[in-house]
Symmetry: C2
DNA sequence: CGCATAGTTGACTACGCTCAACCCTGGTGG
DNA sequence: CCACCAGGGTTGAGCGTAGTCAACTATGCG
């Protein structure tokens, strides 16, 4: 029983599901909006971001197919961030009240939900760790190492580099420069949107 | 039924509880240690921190009485961070297997656990947002605003300022300087470990 | 073909880090 | 009771590096 697989869900919850299509760039919800529902990405890609009064922006999550979004709505009345589609996307919409009931009635579902949340906290903790690395060069390397699948040395980007830069908390200029420098130093090799780590990375 | 209140727990879980006392500075677990148990702080204060290879450190959480620690052990085999007591502390120790069973058997408990996790993700997201503010002055103000209880304008620190600085991702020197500057500008007032925001903060 | 957006590079600036010196406090022991 | 010490707190000076602004090229996409 998994939140992301409607067919696996109990009837009460399955029947309450609706869907929503989003064009690239379309906003799903805004920070502060009343939160009655939570979402799972069915296809495409959503970006959750927070904006500070000074105009700074942080990417909290990039949600791809199967990932859930706005679980915090279960315990809060409003959404804590903005969410928008980076590409044309389709999301599954779950009623908050019905989901809460289902979580109580179906231990499998609750377990799946808890696992999602635990992984989300892990992911956020990793990003926080990444941000603590000050030098752009080190941060980029750290990022590449954590992003490359275990055993792999190649990272493929399906989004513009400037978006990756903002994930990293760097300006695009600094990110480009840093990649160029790492390539000049022979530490990485770039082919289009694909980056390979050359040295035997620890 | 709350994880942090042993008396409220079902017998199977309540009987499996043990306790551990920690001196100030004592380590509860290290990053990478085998994770068989999770914890709730009964008294005192724990700090969870991650260390990068380059020697940088990030504080992931400061856990006080009632807060849970290392929930991720439920789904991972090892602890993802170090945990140590900042002051003499006492923690409740829960067996991971028994807790998992209890979460399936007791919806109230699962609900409490989910709520804890949701709040933790919120808290991590807030720290990430804080880190995205670059200027020390703005970051400190942001921090003071988010730390002051709603409606209040005063923040009391029960830990050394240098620890707060590291929470903020600033060196102690920069933090001291920034506080001094804000005080000179009349924006805050300091009395010992207590800081008051003067202006009508938005 | 033209426009929008991503990517790239240079030059300058701002600001946080580092190192270093010093003060102040509380605690310890002679 | 004082001397000493350790740690937190504070301030100064100089450096390194990420940010910013700006100009330009490359790459789609209508």
């Amino acid at each position: 029983m998994e939140l992301s697989i409607p067919e696996s869900l109990p009837p009460a919850l399955r029947d309450a599901i609706t869907y929503r299509e989003l064009e690239a760039g379309e906003v799903l919800f805004h920070q502060g909006d009343q939160a009655q529902v939570i979402f799972v990405v069915e296809s495409g890609r959503l970006r959750l971001e927070r904006h500070t009064k000074e105009g700074k922006m942080v990417v909290l999550q990039v949600a791809r197919a199967g990932e859930s979004v706005a679980e915090s709505a279960l315990f809060f009345d409003t959404y804590p961030s903005d969410a928008l589609a980076e590409v044309r996307s389709r999301v599954i919409v779950y009623s908050k009240q019905i989901l809460r009931t289902a979580l109580r009635d179906y231990p499998d579902l609750a377990e799946d939900f808890i696992e999602r949340l635990v992984k989300k906290t892990q992911s956020l903790a990793s990003r926080l760790e990444l941000r603590s690395v000050r030098r752009a060069r080190d941060r980029v390397l750290h990022y590449l190492l954590m992003t490359a699948l275990p055993g792999e040395t190649t990272v493929n980007f399906d989004r513009p580099l400037k978006d990756i830069a903002s994930d990293l908390g760097l300006t695009p200029e600094v990110f480009y420069r840093t990649l160029a420098r790492l390539e000049r130093e022979g530490i990485i090799t770039r082919v289009r949107q694909q980056i390979t780590l050359n040295t035997s990375a620890a």
